[in-house]
């Protein structure tokens, strides 16, 4: 009798030491893997090439110049424009094609940069659609595609849809009663925004801004190609240059560290405003009771916004498609190498997503325990932040470091695929952690006591309580992650050996051999497969 009571007592008290160890283990494991991968990579680089004068880099005026404003501008613009678009999509919760549109919002971010740039050029370029139409009408305009506008346009093209997808769940957090209340009070659309929507959306903003900022900060093929010259160079170019053309991995690693410190500082400033608690309640967006639904001005604005966004995003995509469809399809798809590359890319995508999923869950579960059971808010936040920052160290650096490790272990043949998966996992971890952590936190807030009461712990709790709550956000971010690593080129190219190409590397080879027509077919295949993968994962997990 006493024993039974005692054991029940323990299940209720979630703070007991025993549970604590077990609850902190996943996070500790994930963190260990994360730090080993990132730190180990840097350490490996320094071990083969010790930095000679580490501080000399800081004195190079060139480094001061590479920290540019484009990232802040791009991120502000992407998220700033994403807000009204997300609002329009939240307000018009059912129109034909909405589901399709929202699904395809994931498309631009998974396009290989060079393909996207060629797509943008096909629309806004000198011989692009717009100029052709204008010329047909007898006019002539020069769109300033190269320079800051080009960079901004490409970054908005990549990141606006991502930001919309990350912001949309904010509207799910608004309870139905708020809308009813608002309609009974007769709140205008402007007041709805101020009183209901902004408070619901603003907690999402810092996290979204951080991800988009990191993406813009580290993007470099776009910046170089559309920047019109070296004036808009980012620190990533310097890293690439040191690593690839100066044969100075130590300098590259130092630069990577500088970039990491910079990004971490920015993240630490943002963290104040990143409440981990805000997230979707899992209910569908229900705009039925919004009082401003019938407002003709609002309706016009929404339709315009949605159509403009759709056009802005999909016309370049369509341009890539039409070019691919006109290409030598049969010769491309009858090449067995293509299917080998697909298989390898698929393996990498699945491996990377599974790894990232494990890492993210580990971090988030332990962060939750730290927050709610141990009341260590700061530590909890930092744990989550660690997962968001893996974007700040370039994949190339981690890849090179891990390559050295493999080399010294004599495991180059067997380990390559693993390493590519690991590096890709690090690159997609931020998306996962940002979508899983808040939902898990919310589920804790709602159900911790209930679970303690029922003795639900560990796996059963995860299966019964947490998994149903996170499957929607996790489905989306896993889909995104899968598609991203399917289309990743950076890391795979590092390890490229004959016959072991991935699909994006194959695409690059085709271009390198003047086969631009074939490359455009491969690009279409790559995009179709990326989207299918995204859709499949999103649907099968996120339901």
């Amino acid at each position: 009798m006493d024993q039974a009571l005692a054991s029940r007592g323990r299940t209720v008290n979630v703070r007991s030491a025993q549970t604590g160890v077990w609850a902190l283990l996943p996070g500790a494991l994930s963190l260990a893997v994360l730090l080993t991968l990132m730190g180990g990579a840097l350490a490996a680089i320094f071990s083969v090439a010790p930095p000679i004068r580490p501080m000399a880099i800081l004195q190079d005026p060139y480094i001061g110049k590479v920290v540019r404003w484009q990232a802040i501008l791009s991120a502000t613009l992407s998220v700033g424009l994403a807000l009204p678009v997300a609002r329009a999509l939240a307000r018009r919760d059912q129109f034909p094609g909405r589901t399709l549109l929202v699904t395809f919002l994931g498309l631009p971010v998974v396009m290989p940069v060079i393909v996207a740039v060629l797509g943008l050029v096909a629309v806004y370029g000198k011989s692009g659609l717009i100029n052709t139409w204008v010329a047909y009408l007898g006019g002539e305009i020069t769109l300033p595609l190269y320079g800051l506008t080009g960079i901004l346009m490409a970054h908005v093209f990549f990141n606006l849809p991502l930001a919309v997808r990350l912001l949309l769940p904010a509207w799910q957090t608004i309870p139905e009663e708020s809308w009813k209340l608002a309609s009974s009070l007769g709140l205008s659309s402007r007041l709805l925004l101020r009183l209901i929507e902004w408070p619901a959306v603003s907690p999402f903003l810092p996290g979204v801004c951080l991800i988009v900022f990191l993406l813009c900060f580290t993007s470099f093929a776009v910046v170089l190609t559309l920047g019109g010259g070296p004036a808009s160079t980012t620190i990533e170019v310097a890293i690439y240059q040191s690593l690839r053309y100066d044969f100075d991995p130590a300098q590259a690693a130092m630069l990577a560290l500088i970039q990491f410190v910079l990004c971490t500082s920015i993240a630490l400033i943002l963290i104040k405003w990143i409440p981990v608690l805000a997230n979707s309640s899992g209910r569908r967006i229900d705009a039925r009771h919004r009082p401003d639904l019938k407002n003709p001005i609002g309706r016009t604005v929404d339709i315009t916004l949605i159509l403009t966004t759709a056009c802005f995003l999909f016309i370049p995509v369509l341009a890539v498609f039409t070019q691919g469809i006109r290409g030598p399809i049969t010769s491309v798809i009858s090449n067995p190498d293509l299917w080998w590359a697909v298989l390898r890319s698929l393996l990498i995508a699945l491996g990377a997503t599974a790894t990232a999923c494990g890492l993210a869950l580990g971090l988030a579960l332990s962060a939750r325990f730290l927050r709610f059971s141990l009341r260590m808010h700061r530590v909890s936040e930092i744990l989550i932040l660690m997962g968001s920052l893996s974007l700040a160290i370039p994949a190339m650096i981690i890849g090179t470091g891990l390559f050295i490790v493999l080399l010294q272990a004599g495991a180059l043949d067997r380990g390559t695929l693993l390493v590519i998966c690991a590096v890709n996992a690090l690159m997609i971890l931020p998306y996962l952690i940002r979508s899983i952590a808040p939902t898990l936190m919310r589920s804790a807030q709602q159900y911790d006591q209930l679970c303690a009461q029922l003795g639900l712990r560990g796996w059963p709790r995860f299966r019964v309580v947490d998994w149903p709550a996170i499957r929607r956000p996790i489905g989306f971010s896993l889909g995104l992650g899968g598609a991203l690593s399917f289309g990743d080129m950076g890391v795979a190219a590092l390890f490229d050996t004959q016959g072991d190409t991935t699909l994006p590397v194959l695409l690059f080879h085709q271009m390198g051999a003047y086969r631009f027509d074939e490359a455009s077919v491969t690009a279409v295949i790559l995009m179709l497969l990326s989207v299918s993968l995204f859709w499949l994962i999103d649907r099968s997990i996120g339901r």
Binding site: P175, S183, S184, L195, P291
Partner: protein, 242 residues
């Protein structure tokens, strides 16, 4: 007749609601019935959150079918989420005067009166998260008061309060009703508890009004078997004194 529902129909998939109802000004009606009977839907129809597929809803002689919720002389309190969590109680109440919170002196007087009546003056600046459940619902009630809408719909707003608090709230609603000539419809599962407040009670079952009459009579001599069955489980809560 103050409120008149003429053969109002509304369907949700297979389920159908069909109601006719009349209320005099100042009357208080208790709406009882099992879960899923359509009580909340009926309130939503009157408040304008849903539109009937047939029939007319008239308030003070005007058909309000086509009016949006804000233009109806109706205000409604929900079970939860009546307040905006990021606004102080005062601002939440002030929303009832002016949606943009631009208040003139008469607005402020109205708010003051409502807050005094609901005994909230001392905690006006607090956020909803920092006050008790009863205080939150009092603030929501205060907002309904400053809105000056003659028809007040209460969708079980006091269900989660303790019995003593609930009594106080009922008494408060009753005194406010008398002072402001309000017509009140209150959805409840505790008909005996509400009987001192509501002179009339209507019993809903499966989308229809099965019984309607003076509360004491209806509770004492139910005509339908459904009502008898329903009441069997509510008698336990009977609290005779008010």
């Amino acid at each position: 007749m103050f409120l008149k529902l003429d053969d109002v129909e509304f369907s949700l998939g297979q389920w159908r609601l069909q109601v006719s109802l009349c209320l005099e000004q100042g009357q208080c009606l208790a709406l009882i019935g099992p879960s899923g009977a359509g009580k909340s839907t009926l309130l939503s129809l009157i408040a304008g959150f849903e539109t009937p597929s047939r029939g007319s809803i008239r308030i003070n002689g005007d058909t309000v079918n086509q009016l949006d919720p804000a233009s109806r002389p109706v205000t409604m309190m929900f079970q939860e989420n009546n307040l905006f969590n990021h606004l102080s109680l005062y601002d939440n109440i002030a929303l009832g005067c002016h949606p943009g919170l631009k208040l003139n002196s008469s607005d402020k007087d109205r708010i003051h009166i409502a807050m005094t009546a609901t005994e909230l003056t001392a905690i006006a600046t607090r956020l909803p998260a920092d006050v008790s459940g009863g205080e939150r619902q009092r603030a929501a009630l205060a907002r309904c008061l400053v809105q000056h809408r003659p028809l007040l719909l209460l969708d079980e707003p006091f269900a989660s309060l303790d019995p003593r608090l609930r009594h106080q709230m009922h008494a408060l609603v009753d005194s406010l009703r008398k002072a402001n000539e309000l017509t009140v419809i209150v959805v409840t599962h505790l008909p005996t508890e509400i009987s001192p407040l509501a002179g009339t009670t209507a019993f809903m079952h499966d989308g229809r009004l099965l019984e309607y009459g003076p509360t004491a009579e209806l509770l004492a001599k139910p005509q339908h078997a459904e009502l008898t069955r329903y009441l069997k489980f509510t008698q336990a809560h009977y609290t005779p004194d008010f």
